[in-house]
């Protein structure tokens, strides 16, 4: 199981702050495609992915038990 944390407009679009998907392993790129198809999330191209609180690239592999975060362009400061 992979836990996916949602923030900002993604959280509002889906009406929840996390998703759980039953998968053993998936690349970041594949996960983004899957999320686009399943939840019709917009603007996902500009969304970064963090695995266990570290930024990841499309080729990185997410494993069951990992905590994934979808990080829209940040606007702190």
């Amino acid at each position: 199981m992979i836990k996916i944390l949602l923030f900002a407009h993604l959280q509002e679009e889906l009406g929840k702050d996390k998703l759980e998907v039953e998968l053993d392993s998936i690349s970041v790129g594949e996960l983004k495609t899957k999320l686009k198809d399943t939840y019709s999330l917009t603007q996902l191209d500009q969304v970064m992915v963090a695995i266990n609180e570290e930024y990841a690239i499309n080729e990185d592999v997410i494993k069951s038990g990992d905590v994934v975060a979808l990080i829209p362009p940040v606007s702190g400061g």
Binding site: F7, A8, D45, Y55, V74, G76, G77
Partner: protein, 159 residues
């Protein structure tokens, strides 16, 4: 170390406490940056702001910025606090303090910190106007990250 140098908090930020975190006998200069909620942005009147953070990762990224600074400007000390939740006009959203033996490094390192916060720290701002609201992201102001991810290796250019 009793105080956390890098913090995401929900309460008002205590300015003098943050300065105390970086005060040292070898420091001759402390610079601070205080980011406050501005009433007018690009002709629109802000009523209030809402900040959200991915707190554990945000604190980790703030600490990473501190490490970057200490490697670029030796013998500096850094403390950063970002507030989240609802903030009204003039409230302090972010507070950065840098101490250094000499002032030049303290200014440069401080400016570097705020630039990097706007690049890599997972914090989001929602503008509330009189006629609506919107989560703000760099997509509204800048191009998408060319490399497909934020420059997590350390920034080379200031804007």
């Amino acid at each position: 170390m009793e105080d956390k140098l890098y913090e995401i908090i929900e309460e008002p930020i205590q300015l003098h406490k943050l300065v105390e975190k970086v005060q040292r006998r070898e420091a001759g200069a402390i610079t601070t940056f205080i980011g406050t909620v501005r009433e007018w942005t690009k002709g629109k009147k802000t009523v209030y702001l809402e900040y959200q953070a991915y707190k554990p990762m945000a604190e980790k990224m703030l600490a990473k910025i501190g490490e970057e600074i200490q490697s670029k400007w030796p013998n500096t000390q850094v403390a950063i606090t970002h507030r989240v939740g609802r903030l009204d006009i003039s409230d302090v959203a972010v507070f950065i303090a840098v101490s250094s033996p000499h002032r030049k490094a303290a200014y440069e390192a401080n400016e570097y910190a705020i630039e990097r916060i706007k690049e890599i720290v997972p914090i989001w701002k929602k503008e509330h106007w009189e006629d609506g609201d919107m989560w703000i992201g760099d997509q509204l102001e800048k191009v998408a990250y060319p490399s497909g991810k934020p420059n997590v290796k350390g920034m080379n250019e200031h804007d």
